[in-house]
Structures are given as C-alpha cells and as structure tokens.
C-alpha cells in the first residue's frame, strides 16, 4: 500500500520562502486528507511543492508507490481554457503525456469508464471552452483520474460545484480512494465537507502547518476563532458527524494564535 509523509517541507516562490516546516504523520492509501486554511494560507503552494512543481527544503517520503514520484498527480485550481478540444480529447491528453501518438482501445476504455463514473458522458464531445465552471471542474477531475494516480492532490476540486455535485464528487473520491488504495489530499474551504468526508485534516495558515489530526480533533472552536476569526460551535448530528455552526465574526482583539494549537504569532490575515 502506498504511503506518503511530509518531512519539514517548505517551498520557495522565487527567492522567498513562502511555506515552511510542514511535517506530517504517515498518510496511507485509501485515506482522504483535507487540507484546510484561510485564503492565501499556502495550501496550493503545499500541493505544488509535493508535486515537485516548486522547489524548497524538506522531503516528500513515499513508500509503496509503483510509479514513484510520477504516481503523484496534482489537480490545480479551476482555470478557464479556451482550447479547441473536446472533453474526450482533453482527458485523453492527460492520459497520453509522455506516451506515443497511438491511442489504444485500453486508453479509450479507461476514458469511457471515467466519463461514466463521473456522469459526464453527455459532455464527451463538447468543446472544453464551452463548459460551465462546475463542468470544467468535473472534467478536471476526470483528467486527473486518467493519469491513474497513486497519490492524488486536489486543489479545491468542488469550489464551483453545487451542493448536490459536491457531495456526489466527494463521496465518489472517497470511494475511489478506498477501492484503489489511493491517498487523496483535498484542499477544501467547506469545513462541514471536510468533517464529513475526510479521515485526516491538515490546517495551514500563514505558510505553516498549524495542526494535523482527525477532523474532529482539529476543527475546534478555538481553531475557528484563531485561524478563521469566527466564533463558532461544533455540533454533532445523529450520525456523529460534526457541523460547524457559525455564530459570528470573532472580536478583533486577539493578537496571537492560541498556544494550544502549538504556535504563537501574529493573527492570520484573511
């Protein structure tokens, strides 16, 4: 089974160190890890660093990955593309990178399966430039899956989706992780979805890791006050799943992150 562990990971943007000292326990294939934190906290930077797209100190420790670092697939945040390509071609494109020109029946069968699994077969021959934001996001997920990842890094994959589609996609990703032993790291803003779908949770703020653990242990009123600057409670439903109930914006008095979170400093800018 594939495992991933981050050891003192940092990342540079140019000469500036924008992310530092991210060390985590081992995440195993089949687990879904939510990466949460305010805007511009460093979540995308962390993913790019893990994917090898940014340089920086520290190590990404992989074990059991058949493809090695190539097994790490990163799905960037949604960006509009105006290429004259069909959805089918754009997914094939993701699959065939670094391969020969010829397209086998196996390639096409895989794409057919992904399209069907994500319920987007009807979009197969639409132009990618004509898709809505939500459709683009699901196609982007399909492109990532076409690369048959062992470690999957998804940067806000549900930000443009309606509630039904969010639940559908996150359920699907969790099922996929369990079935194929993929370690899935998802940057997500919706804390309720993180509480519902994630097995582990990493909190990033101001370019550093604030906390790591189970969502129930990590997403607490103290964290919400100190990292997100909101007053909130965590209430559990009959199935034991936590829900964040926001009471209001936190008073602007505190000047340091709660020491119980293991870090002190300036209040995060949101």
């Amino acid at each position: 089974m594939v495992t991933i562990r981050l050891d003192g990971l940092g990342a540079f943007h140019g000469a500036r160190l924008v992310l530092s000292d991210v060390s985590t326990p081992i995440f195993r294939g089949g687990e879904v890890v939510a990466v949460i934190g305010p805007n511009a906290a460093g979540k995308s930077t962390l993913f790019k660093r893990i994917a090898g797209l940014l340089k920086g100190p520290g190590r990404v420790c992989l074990e059991g990955a058949v493809k090695g670092p190539d097994g790490i697939c990163y799905m960037p945040q949604d960006t509009a593309a105006n290429a004259v390509l069909t959805v089918y071609e754009s997914i094939l494109l993701a699959r065939k990178q670094g391969s020969a020109w010829s397209v086998s029946d196996g390639d096409l069968a895989l794409i057919d399966g992904i399209l069907a699994a994500l319920s987007i077969s009807d979009l197969a021959f639409c132009n990618v430039g004509e898709l809505s934001g939500g459709q683009r996001q699901v196609v982007s997920i399909a492109q990532t899956l076409a690369r048959e990842p062992e470690i999957l890094l998804m940067d806000e994959p549900t930000s443009a989706l309606d509630l039904h589609r969010q639940v559908e996609v996150l359920s699907f990703m969790r099922g996929l992780a369990r079935k194929h032993g993929i370690a899935v790291l998802i940057a997500i803003h919706d804390l309720n979805q993180a509480l519902r779908f994630a097995d582990k949770c990493i909190v990033i703020a101001e370019g550093r890791m604030i906390a790591c653990g189970t969502p129930e242990d990590v997403v607490t009123p103290a964290l919400l006050r100190d990292v997100y600057r909101v007053e909130a409670r965590i209430e559990r439903c009959s199935r034991g799943i936590g829900h964040v109930m926001v009471d209001g914006v936190a008073a602007d008095g505190s000047d340091c992150i709660d020491s119980s979170l293991g870090i002190c400093g300036r209040k995060p800018k949101i």
Binding site: P76, N82, V103, A116, F125
Partner: protein, 355 residues
C-alpha cells in the same frame, strides 16, 4: 456516481472518438489533395501555359516531354512552386507554435516582429556586408536573418514569462518591435548605396522568383528537422492550450518546452524570410484555418497548419500569375492583399469561437 445509461453512452463515446479521428484524417487528406492540385496549376501557369496533363507527364516522366517544357518546368517553375509549398508550411507551423506557446491568437512571426527582425538582419548583410556570425559569403544573409530573429524571439519569450504580462501586452510589444525593425530597415535603406538599396527593397517585398534548388533544399531540411521534434512533443504542446498550470500538472516541463519551441520557431520563420523576403499573414491565417477545420490536438493541428499554410501560399502563387496575364506579382504583395481582409473577417467573426 456511475449509472447504467451513462455507461451505455460512454461505450458510444469510444466509437464517436474514432469517428472524430477519421473525420480529421479525411480533412487532412482533402487539404493534401487541394495542395497537390494547386501545385500542378502553379506549375502549369506562366508566360507559357501548359495543360495539367503535360505538367503531370513532365513530372512523372521527364524524358517523354519536349526539352523546352522540361527545362521550364524542372529548372524554373518547380523550385518556385515547391518553395511556395515549403515556405508556406514553415511559416504556418511557426505561427501555430507561437500561438500555442504564447497562448495568443494573434501571435505569428509577422505580427510579433520576428519577420521584420529577420528582414533587418538580412538587410544588414545585403547593404553593408555585415556578418553577425562569421560564415561563407553566400550564407551571411540567412544567418543574419536567423540571429536577429532568434534574439527577438528570445526577448518576446522572456517578457512573456514576466508576472502580469498579458496576451495584450505581448501583442503591443510585437507591434512596437515591428515598428522598431521597420524603422531600422528604413535607416539601412537610407544609408545604403543605390545598388544595395534596390537589392534590399526587392528582397523585402517578398518574391518566390528568388527561389533556387539549394535554397529550397535548405528550407526543406529545416522544416523536416523541426517537424519531428514538434511531433514528438505533440501531447505536451496540446496540453499547453489547457493552461500553464494544467500542463505542468500533467508533467510537462513548461518553461523548457516554451524556450525550445521558440528557438525552433525563430529558425522556421527566419530562414524562409532570408531566402524569399517578407511574406506576411501566412503564419497568422494558416493556423487559424487549421484550428477551425480540425481543432487543436497537435497530432492533427500540426499537419493541418503545415498543409493550410502551404496551400495558401501555393494558391497565392497561382493568383500572382493570374491577376494580370503575363505578369507575376511579388507573392508578398499578394498574400498581404488576400490576408488583410481575411484577417479582419477572422477578428470580426471566428476568432472568439475558434480560440
């Protein structure tokens, strides 16, 4: 998320994809046939007109046609007609790849100043005998054109990497470069002798009558050397059109791919300009036609760009002989006259849909 009806339609999707590929292959075959026809017409037309039968016979079996027909076709018309095909293909491929790596529908060697830069470099050699790279006298003109074009391409490339530089900025920069090199070219013309001035002016107009077999072979070799490199990177180049981040996430080394492609583009753009002068709009219009016909999967877009560029220049060569019988207009004038209205119609209609 899966369901039975979706799975059924997915199975159909595979068939539809195969049909899409077949359609693209047929379009490519159609373009190739049209190009062959245009090439034969181009060979048949001239001060002495021949029938298509005679042309085909002279090409297939040179010994079976009169000596005069053989000499006219093989020694005079064939290098010119083939030069139109090769130069058209080279400029169109250069334009297609510039549009791809700069993510800019208005990018082409002509609009971004690379052709003007090549003209200036060549004019330096023609007017003053300046050699930017020491070389044999007969290669000074193309080498100068290449060096200045490559430096210009590098400037564009480096500026396009800067944070905050938009598509519009690159186009404006290109316009500035066109004006700059045109001004420098005028300065060279102003300072050059009467004899050199005539050579520079005639050369900058762009004319296929300068074509010879050695020039044709060099241009063909450059095209044949660069095409396989683009072919090998077809998936990576197509991925660039989904955005830089997406391409990088697919494992494409974006910065390296851009730089290497820009180098090859400057070679493809500079050498034809150095041999036959400035020929505008092929590098802009050829890729747009290919994109409209066949999309941007580089496995098909690349040959379609080459074929459509070759077809436009070959057809322009036919037009240059047909406008006033007995007179051959410089091809650069014809392509600009045809290209400008076409370009405007593209801007007003299809650019948004096809880009």
């Amino acid at each position: 998320m899966s369901s039975e009806p979706a799975a059924l339609s997915a199975k159909q999707g595979r068939g539809l994809y195969r049909a899409l590929v077949l359609r693209k292959q047929l379009i490519l075959a159609g373009l190739a046939l049209a190009l062959l026809l245009s090439l034969c017409i181009d060979l048949a037309l001239g001060p002495a007109s021949y029938s298509l039968d005679q042309v085909v016979l002279a090409l297939v079996s040179p010994g079976s046609v009169p000596l005069q027909v053989r000499v006219v076709l093989w020694d005079i018309r064939l290098p010119i007609a083939l030069m139109a095909v090769v130069v058209g293909a080279a400029l169109s491929v250069a334009g297609a790849q510039m549009q791809t790596i700069l993510n800019n529908p208005l990018a082409s060697p002509f609009t971004l100043g690379i052709s003007a830069a090549a003209s200036f470099g060549a004019a330096l050699a023609l007017a003053f005998g300046v050699a930017l790279i020491p070389a044999a006298i007969e290669y000074i003109v193309p080498l100068n054109a290449f060096v200045v074009a490559m430096l210009t391409a590098l400037v564009i490339h480096l500026l396009s990497l800067k944070r905050g530089v938009t598509v519009e900025t690159i186009v404006l920069l290109g316009i500035a470069l066109v004006f700059t090199f045109n001004a420098l070219l005028s300065l060279v013309q102003y300072l050059s002798s009467e004899q050199a001035l005539a050579a520079v002016v005639f050369w900058t107009v762009g004319s296929l009558t300068k074509a010879t077999w050695p020039k044709l072979i060099i241009t063909s070799l450059i095209l044949l050397a660069t095409l396989p490199i683009f072919v090998r990177r077809a998936w990576a180049l197509t991925a660039l059109r989904l955005g830089e981040d997406k391409a990088a996430s697919f494992g494409v080394k974006v910065a390296r791919l851009r730089l290497e492609t820009m180098m090859m583009v400057s070679l493809l753009a500079a050498i034809p300009v150095a041999f036959v002068g400035t020929i505008g709009f092929i590098g802009l219009v050829g890729p747009h036609i290919a994109r409209m016909l066949i999309g941007e999967d580089q496995r098909f877009f690349l040959p379609a760009s080459a074929l459509s560029g070759a077809l436009i220049l070959s057809a322009s060569s036919v037009a240059s002989k047909s406008l006033i019988p007995g007179t051959i207009f410089p091809i650069g004038i014809v392509t600009s006259l045809i290209g400008i209205p076409f370009f405007i119609s593209l801007i007003l209609s299809n650019v948004r849909r096809s880009w």
